[in-house]
Subunit: 361 residues, 2 copies
């Protein structure tokens, strides 16, 4: 199927999309793909059970001719499946098939709104790490009061980190902020519990001098509240702490919304007030809406892999496709590779065939 | 000075208050003490430079006769001073003098809104740990959608914890929730990044079976978002993670408020709406206001020590005094001591004079 389209076929970027990722899949995926193909120079490769997808896609497209192709994958990984087990057991999952398209350079990037753990494991297995990267990191764009997001990483790919992992996260996050957020000289902070270098836990105290020595604009330790106040453009932490921060933010956001709704419906005056201020509320909600940002890139793998929230809707999928395209176009992985190639390896590996005591075997 | 008062002097509970703790000290402290003495059966012992306090107190009291006494302390510890150094250098600080009153049983509890680090170090030094407690923990009451707060601990007393520290935090937090929040059978969760026992970092995976074995209602792992949704009454974590969660919550709360204010002033309609819904907003703000909860108890020291936020206002100080009284009355420390006396010591210490290999020296 060669679609007739306002973008000529040769200028389209190919992006693979896990059609069975999100909680309500494949509806948001199909709608998001259609929206993207209408607006962006992209060819979307929907990955999943072909027959099921074909019928639904035809139904949604009616007679519209869009550059959407289907790649068959017989298995889906569920949200509640254990990552390691699901990845081992399901050799023909939509995640694995989609990521293989990236590895084989048939597409420029892959997107899934599915099981985050499984997506990370599959991406590391299928794509592997970039040279110089020990551990890929999951990033999240957090809303700030300035309007420009703060890049938080790692938010869940690595629960127990070493200081040199945080160092690499800083390098990758800084390049991401420069390339995608177009921040000239991103301010990079280390998430801790006090500003001074001596504050923090063993990990942050060890990571501090490593980050300080990097050729980046390192602003030192920052605290949880600095994620949202624009103090830093990039904030680095281990995946356990980052995940707790991310979900704490989500949790209090939801609490805020619920309490506000409750407060605003308690009196008639308040109800009238709420009615009048509805537009303002909607503006406000949009600025805090994770769906607007699209998915979170997994930085440090050989290829583009964007992981979205399970609750992604059509807009979130559309934005994830946009993010994947930007990511691929910006050549972030090449920059990361170059930057890390110039850095010493951690931990320094002894030359081959040499015993740790220095003697040659 | 023996004040004439609606509560007879003999029924008053004595509470010491660091008069030079908060950012705007001693104004909020003096006002909060006055408010407390008017409403509660308490005698407040203001601790700080006597002459300065005497003049200000007289000014505020005018002719009112309230059970407020002054204890002289010549030094104040600043917010930005390094805890360890300040505690060593200032032997006559208001914190140390106030905590000595607790140790000497002249008062039932001590409150400060000052330098948290210095307060914790001083409390541990002056009061010492309760038998069976290896590390005291700082607690925070987090707002939830149910209206009943969630007790989060540790939020900053211990940055690098062992599994048995988390076990003791669970015991202490559970007793606190039963005694102060009057929850019959508090649900205790372990802060992690996934529900299953296998999810988390090394520390939480090691702590999980210890918490499971406790005679408490352990509900397993919880996530950052569960702090606010009422899933748990008590959530246990190491002090680094807890502090990040606490400050992330504060940060997004502030972001929410700022964005809302901005959204609501952008259009005339929204402005009218905001005016009409002002009462609802105020109700709502109050539910999220840390000042309403009073300070955070340091659990596990021999005595009552409540540490408030630096930005504490008069109401926060009043509420901290109320919390200290409740804490002392509930006999929480006795309960903690009894509960932990029945538990095995971690790490098990070899009997005296016995070599680790089992041989008696």
């Amino acid at each position: 199927m060669q679609p007739v389209h306002k973008h000529t076929a040769s200028t389209l970027m190919d992006i693979a999309l896990d059609a069975f990722g999100s909680d309500k899949a494949p509806e948001p995926e199909i709608r998001g793909a259609i929206q993207a193909c209408r607006a962006l120079p992209v060819r979307v490769h929907l990955v999943g059970p072909e027959r099921e997808l074909r019928d639904l896609l035809d139904e949604h497209l009616e007679d519209e001719d869009l550059p959407i192709v289907i790649h068959h994958a017989s298995e889906k990984i569920g949200m509640d499946e254990k990552a390691a087990h699901a990845v081992r057991a399901k050799k023909d999952s939509s995640m694995r098939v989609g990521l293989k398209l990236v590895r084989e350079k048939k597409v420029a990037g892959f997107i899934t709104a599915g099981n985050t753990g499984a997506a990370m494991v599959t991406a590391k297995m299928v794509l592997g790490e970039l040279p110089g990267v020990d551990r890929p990191a999951l990033t999240a764009r957090m809303p700030t009061v300035t309007g420009s997001p703060c890049v938080l990483l790692d938010v869940g790919a690595n629960v127990d980190c070493k200081a040199h992992n945080l160092e690499q996260f800083a390098v990758m996050g800084e390049i991401f902020a420069r390339s995608i957020l177009r921040i000239h000289r991103p301010k990079v902070g280390l998430l801790s519990i006090g500003e001074e270098e001596s504050k923090g836990n063993e990990l942050t105290r060890e990571a501090f001098p490593l980050l300080k020595a990097l050729p980046i604009h390192f602003i030192g330790n920052v605290e949880g509240r600095d994620i949202f106040n624009g103090a830093a453009d990039v904030i680095v932490c281990d995946g356990f702490v980052g995940n707790v921060a991310l979900k704490t933010g989500e949790g209090i956001g939801r609490l805020f919304r619920d309490l506000l709704r409750e407060s605003l419906t308690t009196t008639v005056t308040a109800q009238v007030g709420a009615m009048l201020s509805r537009k303002a509320f909607n503006d406000f909600r949009r600025r805090l809406d994770y769906n607007e940002y699209g998915g979170a890139p997994l930085l440090g793998v050989r290829g583009v892999c964007i992981i979205g929230h399970g609750s992604s809707n059509e807009t979130a999928i559309y934005n994830s496709i946009r993010v994947a395209m930007e990511f691929a176009k910006a050549g972030i992985n090449t920059s990361i590779e170059q930057e890390l190639a110039n850095r010493p390896q951690h931990p320094p590996k002894p030359p081959k065939d040499q015993h740790p005591d220095g003697s040659v075997q």
